[in-house]
Amino acid sequence: MLKRVTPDDTSGAMVRLGDVKTAAPFVSGLEYGAPARGVWNIVHIGMLIPGAHQIYVCAGNCLRGVVLTAAEMNAQSRFSTITIKENNVLDGDMETLLIEGVTDILHRLPKLPPAVLVFTSCIHHFMGCDLALCYRELRKRFPGVDFTDCYMNPIMRKSGLTPDQLMRRQLYSLLKPRAQDDGVNILGNCFPTDETSELVKIIRQTGRPLRDITVCKTYEDYQKMAASTLHIAYNPPARAGGEALSNRLGGTFLYLPLSHTAKTIRKNLRTLCEALGTSYDPSEDEARAEQALLHAKEMLGETEIAIDYTATPAPMSLARCLLEHGFRVTRIYADSIAADDQEAFCWLQEHAPDIELYATVQVKLRVLPRETEKPTLAIGQKAAYFTGTKHFVNIVEGGGMYGFDGLRRLAELMEEAYRTERDARDFIQQKGLGCDSCL
């Protein structure tokens, strides 16, 4: 039987923030995958379009992960696959396979879905498959179905938009132009933004319709998003999709990157107010956040805190915020430093150079001890896994929290995590945190 081996050191897998020289401080090499699965994948995101059916066209190994994602989220009735075999590669009949395969599936479904997301893969890209021809033919065969091109091509993750960015762009590609109103779209998220957040409160106070795919119940609800004239994204992978949508349908696009630092939060809220022609004083929200953070700090004392990049797209910004409120942040798990997080990173380099920046995919992460010497509270599933703590905040992608209200809620979640002991393995292995799950 295998026994855990412990490497002598963490070199290559960990670096002091003060010693980081580039935004990608770890050598690119073989990659490890930790069993923290709460981050949504393309299947989860695609399922946000109400009633849409997903069809993946890939080799068996690529299909396996997505078909079981759908099965685990009890959505297999909205999911089908077409398997690519060696003969398709040799015969070059990828277009026929796709067209006839989708046709066969749609004929066999109990009823035609309003929309079909066809996911092609790395193979199509390398084989030069004529996707435009495929979609033309499918639209001709099924005029009542909206088709869109989606991609499961991780080999392209370093070439232009990443698959995650592409997915969040294509998510809105089925919106058809319609009469516009003064609606406001929040784009590219997996979770609704909290009603108590300043972002939502400001939009609500203008009386303009707020639309978000995460709360759409029907395909028509989804289509109504095309009427909006202000589009907002705050999650970095959603930015490209927001720009594409506003270019296609018109309207204004605002990118208000999620941040945990007061200066950026205030700036984002001002930008939003200007775009909406309204005003909002966030002083009370900020005061509540300060109070909540102070309260949490009193409870946590010198408890060490580890943060990972799956909990928030801005882990450096969160670390800065917590440090400024007296918390003891000792570890950050992130394989690189995001562009939107650079300013906070520079601040940390100057004020907290001893924070340890750990990779999450570097090979040693497989065998490094998953424990800490001192009690640790983790923010994020990967931080929980790697530190082995039983005290963790179980969120991904910001968890729908935004602005000062987001800080207040996060402080409350930290207190809850501090008070509550739970085994990470019972929580973090479920795919797509917040999705339905049969596990």
Binding site: R37, R64, L68, H125, F126, I155, M156, V363
Partner: protein, 373 residues
Amino acid sequence: MKQTQAFLSTYTADVSGVCSALFELGGMTVMHDASGCNSTYNTHDEPRWYDMDSLVYISGLSELEAVMGDDEKLISDVSDAARQLHPRFIALAGTPIPMITGCDLPAIAREVEGRTNIPSFAVPSNGIGTYVAGARQALRLYAERFITSRPEKRKNAVNILGATPLDFSVNGCVQSMARRLEEAGFTLQSVFAMGSSFDSIDEAGAAEVNLVVSSVGLPAAKYFQAQFGTPYVIGAPFGDFFSPYVFDALRESIRTGAPADVLGTFAPDAPDTVIVGESVTAKSLAAALAVGYGIGARVICPVEAPNGVLGACDLRLEDEEEIEQALRGARRVIADPLYRRIVPAKSEFYPLPHEAFSGRIYRRQIPNLAERV
């Protein structure tokens, strides 16, 4: 064949089969792929991932590396990782894009071995075959590389060949098969490859006979036969009624020095029951139902099956519609719960979760067939 699955899941692929078969053997297995294979493997195909730190990684192939044929990146990344982690061996497994670009993984393995002095080999896989294709090659290649010495034969010693969680989960079934063997008077040499020490596996040549419990173990059994003259029996000892037949076949095989057939002796005359699954385990279950309950069952095998295991009434089918058609008229259907959507309403459906099909979804409900059928 339409190659479409409107309703069904898909089986674990060959690349995951490679990783699963080699998981407990102390090596480092590298999937040469962009991304995705690793999370699929460690989420859906590998129940040991959380608790056992086996070295399984992905190369992170990028478009540029694939287009430019940058094999050096893979060679140096694997070599660097091996220097940090000191695995017993290195195995490389391919996926669709390396297949398309004609990546020469055996040559890369030789280069890695030259740089690291760690035994290295490539396991043929392309992400298109099922786990059976990958796992059986992995075990055979490991055996050919590491199980080469001819130790003195140990009386009544048996290797169990072809045990992976993909067919036997982690519910104690493998341990139960081992217990049954020992209670029947045999000595367990090793389980290839779950739960045994490296030493006992590497001395597998000491066994007098091999027991092939899934089709994954057959190529290794044939290698042991050629290398050490060890005969083999194909069949998983499921339940109280069928297991004695398996053990009789093992004794017969030891006596004659030749393979002995046990599955073929239970061919049903008029099967009214269908079992969908991997060939050897499904045939073993069919035999257990026949001998224990007088139920005649035929097998539909949707994954690669070795010659001679499936009988005249069995079917080797992959296509969803063909399977759906073949199930029509069946009185009983025994299959993974995810097959339920294509099982005729009139048939009695007996869910038998199969890790290689539904992954972890029904893991807690997977029965230990070695204990009870």
